[in-house]
């Protein structure tokens, strides 16, 4: 069944379709409607789940961690300062090997007080060990939530996932979303039944004191799980295609085969960049787009494979690591170590600044006429 929905509705319906058992979340603009819709769905008895009301995002994720450890499938959602407040518990979710799914509406960190799109909030959670997806449209939000449970709950992974959607450009934008039928979704995503959980009949301890004799190996196993996740993400993507006829990968090239220049991007900018590429191709400029879906695990092999024959590469970051450069630019540049391809780092769209087709064309213009640089700011006011 297709409906016209905002990204926040797509996220709430994704959690509903995944038949989560426990939801705990705290409202924050522009995520608020996710929490509102889910509380209504639970109150109306349309989803057999517990909605745990809490006083902060820290408690919201703590409640999910407890419930997930007891064997529940859980969901939470937040944004910006709320995600920052969850930071400590994101580590807990990963190291507890709890495949929680969290929808994060990418919003700029304050101050200046901003409710607008910026990925710096989630990029700052890069090293918590959570898998991270950046969505291009509302369909991808819905689909990514379904797939994230399937992927995270895989017995060889047991990892949480942050599904990111751009503030307003998705959260408050209405688009067509296919919600499929619930029976097919149930076949794709059966109920969650972990082998190891908190159980009063079979007591276990979790997260106890871990001496240097063991912590190192625990960490190694999380790294192995992330390596394995690259395979599982592709496998589940294929399975998703068989069920729902939509294709998803770690990263997705668009018109890259014969491209001289490739723009690497993520989130909603990827969609606008595809339209920009079509327009530039009509003018005879051979340019393509590589959309990165997963920041973690980072699809290094795919990035090398797609970019290695390009003459120039540009990376568009709606985020910044102050004192260095755009965070995705760092990843892409490191992946291309040894390839001697000129690579340009563009900073665009921070704090919700619109990134138009003309802005993207100006980046390609820059790449045609200038030497590479690590942080090129687009449309900066003097």
């Amino acid at each position: 069944m297709k409906k016209v929905l905002t990204g926040n509705f797509a996220a709430a319906y994704g959690a509903t379709a995944a038949k989560v058992n426990v939801i705990s979340a705290y409202p924050i603009t522009p995520q608020t409607t996710i929490v509102e819709i889910l509380s209504e769905i639970v109150a109306d008895g349309l989803l057999n789940a517990d909605f745990i009301k809490v006083e902060s995002e820290h408690s919201a994720l703590a409640a999910c961690i407890g419930a997930q450890a007891a064997g529940a499938r859980t969901f939470t959602a937040t944004s910006a300062q709320g995600l920052a407040l969850m930071h400590e518990l994101l580590h807990w979710a990963t190291r507890g090997r709890l495949p929680i799914v969290l929808a994060n509406v990418n919003r700029a960190m304050a101050p200046g007080w901003s409710i607008w799109a910026d990925a710096t909030d989630s990029v700052a959670q890069r090293d918590t060990g959570c898998m991270q997806i950046y969505c291009e449209n509302n369909q991808e939000v819905f689909d990514s939530i379904l797939m994230s449970y399937k992927i995270g709950e895989h017995t060889e992974l047991l990892l949480p996932t942050i599904v990111n959607l751009d503030a307003f450009f998705l959260s408050h934008t209405s688009q067509i979303v296919d919600l499929y039928d619930q029976e097919t979704i149930d076949r794709f995503l059966p109920s969650y039944n972990p082998e190891i959980k908190l159980d009063i009949e079979n007591p276990r301890a979790f997260g106890g004191l871990t001496s240097p004799d063991y912590y190192y190996e625990f960490s190694y196993k999380i790294q192995l799980a992330h390596e394995k996740a690259k395979e599982i993400i592709e496998e589940v993507g294929k399975e998703f295609y068989r069920f729902f006829n939509r294709e998803y990968h770690l990263s997705e090239p668009y018109r890259c085969d014969d491209a001289d220049m490739i723009l690497v991007d993520y989130g909603t900018i990827a969609g606008t960049a595809k339209d920009a590429v079509d327009r530039m191709r009509d003018k005879g400029i051979h340019v393509g787009v590589l959309k990165i879906r997963y920041l973690r695990p980072f699809p290094e092999e795919q990035v090398i494979d797609i970019l290695k024959n390009a003459k120039k590469v540009g990376v568009i970051d709606r985020a910044i690591s102050y004192g260095h450069e755009g965070p995705f630019f760092t990843e892409v540049k490191a992946s291309l170590y040894g390839y001697r391809i000129p690579i340009y780092g563009f900073i665009a769209g921070l704090g919700g600044r619109d990134v138009s087709i003309v802005d993207i064309e100006s980046m390609v213009d820059y790449m045609q006429g200038n030497k590479p640089a690590n942080h090129i700011w687009i449309g900066l006011k003097k």
Partner: protein, 184 residues
């Protein structure tokens, strides 16, 4: 792809109008996108909203800079807001006004067709909003259907009845009346 930009004031329902137009086009099998200019809503403050309608998948996610159609829910915005910025040559402008369309001149536009209709009076006739601030969004949707032909009035009315929480019939009648009164 057709791009429509709405200019109104907080409380007139511009955002809802952009959404209803998209949903009506979706009913007719089109690809659609609708969104507001992202800000903090205040009654009376200028509001911008956008609708895209296409036969093909809509991938773009930025504001509309070169609209095909402009919808002006409050004529007092003309002047203070450069609302005709980027209007495509031969574009259409629909204004909620009791004045004649010839009385509006937009020197920076290229050959636009201007349409006026008194949505405020029609909205008030059906008790939508107050005299100080009539809710004109459903009324202007009838005019949009007539002028642009992008969607049928039947689809507009079906979506109004589905999506407007109160006074569904009166809102539907307002849209129907502007559709019938609008001269094209």
């Amino acid at each position: 792809m057709v791009e429509i930009r709405f200019h109104g004031r907080g409380g007139q329902g511009a955002v809802k109008a952009s959404d209803i137009l998209a949903m009506a086009a979706f009913r007719e099998g089109k690809e659609v996108q609708a969104f507001p200019f992202f800000g903090v809503e205040r009654r009376g403050a200028p509001v911008t909203a956008f609708t895209r309608i296409s036969q093909e998948e809509i991938r773009i996610h930025c504001y509309i800079y070169e609209p095909d159609v402009l919808i002006v829910l409050d004529p007092t915005l003309i002047g203070p807001i450069p609302l005709t910025d980027g209007l495509k040559p031969n574009g259409k402008i629909i204004i909620n006004s009791e004045r004649d369309s010839n009385s509006f001149i937009f020197p920076d536009t290229e050959n636009p067709t201007i349409f006026t209709i008194d949505c405020s009076s029609i909205a008030l006739k059906y008790g939508l909003g107050s005299k100080a601030s009539p809710i004109v969004n459903t009324a202007i949707l009838g005019a949009i259907a007539k002028v642009t032909g992008l969607v049928s009035i039947e689809s507009i009315i079906e979506v109004i009845k589905e999506r407007i929480p109160l006074y569904k019939e009166k809102n539907a009648l307002a849209a129907q009346e502007t559709y019938e009164c609008m001269c094209v």
